[in-house]
Amino acid sequence: MKSLPKKLSLSGWGTEYRKLRRDGLREASYGGPLQRHLSENPSLKRFVFDNSAASLRLWNLLLSEEDRLHEARKKGTLIVACMKDLGTIPVMAFSMPRSLAFYPDGAWWLPCLMGRKTQVLEAADKLGIDESFCPVRAMLGAFELQKNFPMPDIITCSSGAVCDDFSAIAQRLESRGHRILWWEMPLRRKPEKGEKSLPLPGGLRAPSAQLEFVKKELERIRRAFSELRGHPLSDAMISRGIRAANKVRKTLSELRQIVFSAKECPLPALEMLIAEMLIIHFCSDLGEAGAVLNELLGEAKKRVRSSQCVLRGGEAKIFWVNPVSDIKVMNLLEDCGGRLCGTENMFCHALEIIPEDMPPIDALARSALADPMTGSSAERAEKICRDAAGFGAEALIIARIPGASHCATEGGVIRRKVETSLGIPAIELEVPPVSDGDENSLRTRISALVETVERKRQ
């Protein structure tokens, strides 16, 4: 008999795993009990997890990335590190044969997963990148220690309209001997009166000249990839890559729609955050990322069909803005009586379908230019309002990333827009890389927001 949806501690997963095995669980090559990751990731004990086989597969994909990358290196797979760009260059990398993209910035989760076992932050400290910088500095430490992933064959990093903290950290990385292929992302501006403009995914528009510029930048990356691989990266190959990426994006989009708009919550916030993060670089395996999301979608549909809920029911519907470097906060949201009901984790452009009816570089350039962080905070706030209204969110939380240059001002713009347009309450929270010390204050603030929602319902 299958278990009803519930949340489990890591130790609770032992019994659940045995039960799933008895019931005929079929696993991917990276499958196995969740506890096997504990020695490498001692802080897994801090979390509570969804009890489905689909979620187990999601966690196993996430936590096996390091092993899979080392395995790929042994097999001679070309490893492309895509920094800062959230979702465009990985599509190009996966379009090449025997190549994969990975996302070094993702190292910012290492402290919250590995605790003191990782020394990435200490290594970044030694290079002068201390805790006053964005927690993505963990990436610098990871490169320095060379323990968390194999050294890539090429590193790309977008510059220009990006946050200063990331740009500074990436430059520090280059100074340590890691050559970076910098590419320029211009500040997306509104077309001037009479200026030719083109549509972008997500209902945005950009001046044609900016689009032409980004296309040339992507062509530069295409040339670099082709040289490295010793084989031209053709339009046909990129088009195939786009179709494959779109398939995964469609699955995620459906998953988000079902989970965020369900009457009661079918999947927990923590698993939804990780599922969403897969879309940036497919956790180094495009095929498996698609399969994992499909399974999660199946599970969510099944739970919705049978009116099963993973939480108690009746939770305050919260729209979440910006990713958190300590994912435990997603558990905390639910502990406080909230549920995730929409997100904008700085890469909503990676959730949009890449156009398939135009030359592939054109399509990718449009996708890249739709990045919410390259445009104005006001445009981002408008999109957040549309999505929050669409999912019926009752409140909004903006997670401030410590030290990040965009966080000092954008929160105010988003909050004002949400409060005036939607009339729902919004708060800003700062979430450090390991939030245990701040848990009480975070809990108090989230609980107060939930109470506000509950009062408004009465």
Binding site: G160, V162, D164, S167, A168, R172, L187, S377, S405, T409
Partner: protein
């Protein structure tokens, strides 16, 4: 009376603004203790915008060199009564496309200035304006060695603020080579006499080169007469985009090459790196410059709103640093 356009970015050519018949005015923000910015917000960006607005110019030009400045402006757009132009200065510089992007941004700025009431400059007018500014900058730079670093910085400030007028007195105070030799590098300065250069000199340092944002480091390169004649616009792009070494560029090779040249030429005993509290771009340079230069580096956190106590703290730290070097 000419319309006044305020800016602070060294990649905005004042010649271009002047050629449009407007008065460019590059300002340094004033120290402010009345309204502290919220946590995480750069006090320089905050003070610059406040100072610029208080001066009631006809327009403000800002740039994407600094993400905080870009975002602060962005957050205020709907409340600003003054037209603001956001100049997209590319961070990359190795490609002709990045250069073309800079050129196209200059053209876009031109259209903005015309909307403000400026005129479209003829080739001759632009050429003359560029030559005039170049001539005055040369005159100014000739006075560099005769002035202390802080006095020369004041001359530069006056030159930029006034729209390119040479100060009446180019030698303010003869410099006497004494004290511990120091190089200063870092971000922008605040208005007023008590900036980091002045405080360093008062503490007993002899500044042998100034690499702060408002210094000779960010002046455009000298003109090439032939090229100017052929295409003044292209030459303008060249002297700004191709030559100014800056911290936001990717990669930032030119900044380090510039510093290496200065260290070789002037042999300072130490470096002072001044930056505002939330300036990631400069703060990330400290350990790197320390690594390759082998010089002791004192990092000074500046704040535009921290009052006398902070100034005392900076003076004390500088004195201690100089004592160590002496």
């Amino acid at each position: 009376m000419l319309k006044r356009v305020i800016y602070n970015c060294p990649f905005v050519p004042p010649e271009w603004v002047a050629a449009h018949g407007l008065q460019p005015s590059r300002i340094r923000p004033e120290e402010r203790i009345d309204a502290a910015p919220k946590a995480g917000l750069c006090s320089y960006a905050h003070s610059f915008l406040k100072t610029a607005l208080a001066q009631k110019p006809d327009a403000i030009i800002l740039s994407t060199r600094c993400d905080q400045m870009r975002r602060l402006t962005d957050s205020q757009t709907d409340r600003l009564a003054i037209p603001v132009f956001m100049f997209n200065v590319p961070a990359t510089w190795q490609t002709t496309d990045a250069r073309k992007l800079y050129s196209s941004e200059l053209r876009r700025l031109g259209r903005f200035l015309e909307k403000l009431g400026g005129r479209s400059p003829s080739k001759k007018c632009l050429s003359e304006e560029i030559a005039k500014w170049d001539h005055n900058r040369k005159k100014l730079c000739e006075a560099r060695r005769a002035n202390s670093a802080s006095h020369f910085s004041e001359l530069l400030e006056s030159f930029h603020r006034s729209g390119g007028k040479l100060p009446d007195k180019l030698i303010q105070k003869k410099v006497s080579p004494k004290g511990v030799s120091l190089g200063v590098i870092g971000g922008p300065l605040l208005a007023g006499r008590e900036n980091i250069l002045r405080v360093t000199e008062l503490a007993g340092g002899q500044i042998v080169f100034d690499g702060t944002e408002d210094s000779e480091r960010t002046l455009p390169d000298m003109l090439r007469a032939e090229k100017l004649q052929k295409s003044p616009f292209e030459e303008l792009v060249h002297i700004y985009f191709d030559t100014i070494p800056d911290v936001f560029r990717r990669p930032d090779t030119a900044l380090h090459e510039w510093l290496r040249r200065m260290i070789t030429m002037h042999k300072p005993r130490g470096l002072v790196l001044s930056h505002f509290v939330w300036c990631d771009l400069w703060r990330a340079q400290i350990s790197r410059m320390r690594e390759w230069s082998g010089l002791p580096i004192l990092s000074i956190d500046l704040s535009a709103d921290s009052g006398e106590g902070a100034k005392q703290r900076i003076r004390t730290r500088l004195e201690a640093f100089l004592e160590e070097l002496a």
